[in-house]
């Protein structure tokens, strides 16, 4: 097992090196002019020259890459052209909002997707199954940005059941930021009003973002459960007289979770991807919104920073899933 973990970490390091090469390639080789985007069309030659020197854009591309890698090794992601602050500092500010939203959406997906998948398989070809499958199909095909607009339009503008865009009402002052996760910080500060308000702000974006993953997880759980429910050992367990619920939860679900786990890991990536659209609609001050604003102004240090951090999170989530996989499934052989 230890050998496997070390091997996986080595391969992840290699992938991350590749990720940094690719992000660098996108930013430096693809023809777009960040200087023009930052200074505008009417910039003087001396301003352009100074800008290029300041950001190291006047050096040959291979030299820029070596400098970039050296900085990266020290955790230095460069300075944002748009905010004029170190990118690492920007990311520290915006990442917690995305982590909070992503985690909430992930919970939505797990809490809705797994039970829907199980019930769908257990009641195969019955009305619930048809309804759940249709829902899962629509969830996987629905444009998330439209769903966000509808939820905001109906539940905020019309019915006023939930608060509008942002993480907290303007009238409330945020608690002392310790983790950057508003819910956790409000808990630590024992600020009930902020906690309730922040939780209410989280519901609509989490539902919007979680829908796609809910659909995917429900489909996978159903399919995995169907695979298992017709196995001999499940039939034997039932024949022995074990109660149906016990067989489903203890015998079938445990084994069906193995393939589902992979999808749960992968769905973390789609949550990060979807965050770009969801955060734009809900004015959620997270990485997705930061990435969009940075990409619009061709702020490549910022775009590269976000892309790298997200790839790192994604890869880490997949590594975690692989390790869990090895732990749960004794049949998986590594070496």
């Amino acid at each position: 097992m230890a050998r496997y973990i070390l091997g996986r970490i080595a391969s992840v390091s290699l992938v991350l090196l590749g990720v940094s090469v690719l992000t660098f390639f996108i930013a430096h080789v693809i023809p777009a002019d960040p200087v023009l985007a930052a200074l505008g069309e009417h910039a003087r030659d001396d301003q352009i020259e100074a800008f290029r020197r300041a950001y190291g854009l006047d050096r040959p591309v291979p030299v820029q890459f070596v400098v970039y890698l050296g900085r990266l090794a020290r955790g230095d992601l460069g300075v944002s052209i748009r905010t004029r602050r170190p990118v690492a500092e920007d990311l520290r500010e915006f990442l917690p909002a995305t982590v909070e939203l992503g985690t909430a959406a992930w919970l939505v997906a797990l809490l809705l997707g797994i039970p829907a998948g199980i019930l769908s398989a257990v009641y195969r070809d019955r009305p619930f199954d048809h309804l759940a499958r249709l829902g899962a199909l629509a969830g996987a095909s629905l444009p998330v940005f439209w769903l966000g607009l509808v939820l905001l339009g109906v539940f905020y503008y019309r019915l006023q059941w939930f608060p509008g865009p942002g993480r907290l009402d303007v009238a409330l002052s945020p608690p002392l930021l310790r983790t950057g996760l508003l819910l956790v910080d409000a808990l630590l500060a024992r600020d009930g009003a902020v906690l309730r308000n922040a939780a209410a702000h989280l519901i609509l974006p989490a539902l919007t973002l979680g829908l796609f993953s809910t659909a995917v997880i429900a489909r996978m759980t159903r399919s995995a459960m169907l695979d298992v429910l017709y196995q001999d050992y499940v039939r034997t367990a039932r024949a022995k007289g074990l109660p149906r619920r016990r067989v489903i939860v203890l015998h079938a679900l445990k084994n069906a979770m193995i393939p589902t786990l992979t999808i749960i890991g992968i769905s973390f990536g789609s949550l990060l991807s979807g965050a770009v659209l969801t955060e734009t609609i809900f004015a959620w001050p997270g990485l997705g919104r930061y990435a969009t604003a940075s990409a619009v102004s061709l702020d490549f240090p910022a775009v590269m920073g976000v892309t790298l951090v997200i790839a790192l999170l994604y890869t880490a989530a997949n590594l975690l899933v692989d390790l869990l996989y090895a732990r749960i499934d004794p049949r998986v052989r590594y070496g």
Binding site: L14, L272, A291, A295, V306, Y314
Partner: protein
């Protein structure tokens, strides 16, 4: 050339009959997949016939009727600039169709070439190509597509390149897995034994036998491409207004969601239907090609 004998004509007829029969059987076994196939066919036909079916040119404005609700005069209503939404949806279908085809062609060819090479050649080549594929897998698709589309400059063409750049690795993994199995099959070894070149073996024997899963993926990829392209257009990195692309239409109509709901909702439903059609078709094809699922 063979001359057509009565016996061969009968055989051809029987084969056609049996194909039709198995299609009908497949449709009966998987009605959702049949619905998906019908949906996709309808989508393609509507896209192709858009100039004939659209009541107005997509950019024609009738400001006096702006935001008119769906009704007899305007079946799907008018938008904030008085443009006929039905006409824009039909022309938008053409764009979505092109997006799907171009992305599948680019991603499919690149991914399959990489995957087959890796699987067939093996060794270091396999290692290097699969590590490159892993790097692309490390990015959530929309983030990478956005970075590429931003770097290339916002346009639908660049969005297609960006989407192909993030979706090819799936084809690579699938075709590699196929090639790994097929290169050890007897017919491949027989072809090698009679002295056929590797390229010829790949093109004549490996590729045709690896196509099944790739066609299934192509169907999913069409839907995915339409969805990502709409998302990119919605945040400004894809098609630009006034192009009647569905994501652009939702974005332009976003302020009317509670008052004139049809302006952003009709294009969103068009995306939903088109993507659902391709997903259903993909599901159905996968079930048909997988003997394990076929029996269930």
């Amino acid at each position: 050339m063979h001359a057509s004998t009565p016996a061969s004509a009968t055989a051809k007829l029987a084969a056609a009959h049996s194909r039709r029969r198995s299609l009908l059987l497949a449709a009966r076994r998987s009605p959702l997949a049949a619905a998906g196939a019908l949906g996709v066919i309808a989508f393609v036909l509507l896209a192709l016939a858009a100039p004939l079916l659209a009541p107005q040119p997509p950019d024609a404005q009738r400001l006096e009727y702006r935001l008119a609700p769906p009704g007899r005069a305007f079946p799907l209503g008018l938008d904030q600039l008085g443009r006929d939404i039905l006409s824009r949806i039909l022309y938008g279908a053409r764009l979505s169709l092109v997006v799907g085809i171009v992305v599948v062609a680019l991603a499919g060819v690149l991914g399959t070439a990489v995957g087959i090479t890796a699987g067939f050649v093996g060794g270091h080549m396999d290692g290097v190509l699969m590590r490159v594929t892993d790097v692309f897998f490390a990015f959530p698709p929309l983030i990478l597509a956005m970075a590429i589309a931003a770097a290339l400059g916002p346009s639908l063409t660049n969005a297609m390149v960006a989407i192909a750049a993030v979706t090819w690795p799936v084809y690579a993994r699938l075709s590699r897995a196929q090639a790994l199995v097929l290169r050890r099959q007897e017919f491949t070894e027989a072809a090698r034994a009679i002295g056929l070149s590797d390229l010829r073996i790949v093109v004549r024997h490996v590729l045709p036998n690896a196509l099944g899963p790739l066609i299934v993926q192509a169907s999913f990829n069409m839907g995915e491409a339409i969805l990502i392209a709409a998302g990119l257009s919605f945040i400004g990195f894809g098609a630009q207004p006034p192009i009647p692309e569905w994501g652009v239409m939702v974005s332009e109509g976003r302020d009317y969601i509670t008052t004139q709901w049809w302006v952003p909702t009709v294009p969103a439903l068009a995306i939903l239907l088109a993507v659902t059609g391709f997903n259903l078709l993909g599901d159905g094809l996968r079930d048909l090609l997988d003997p394990r699922l076929r029996q269930r």
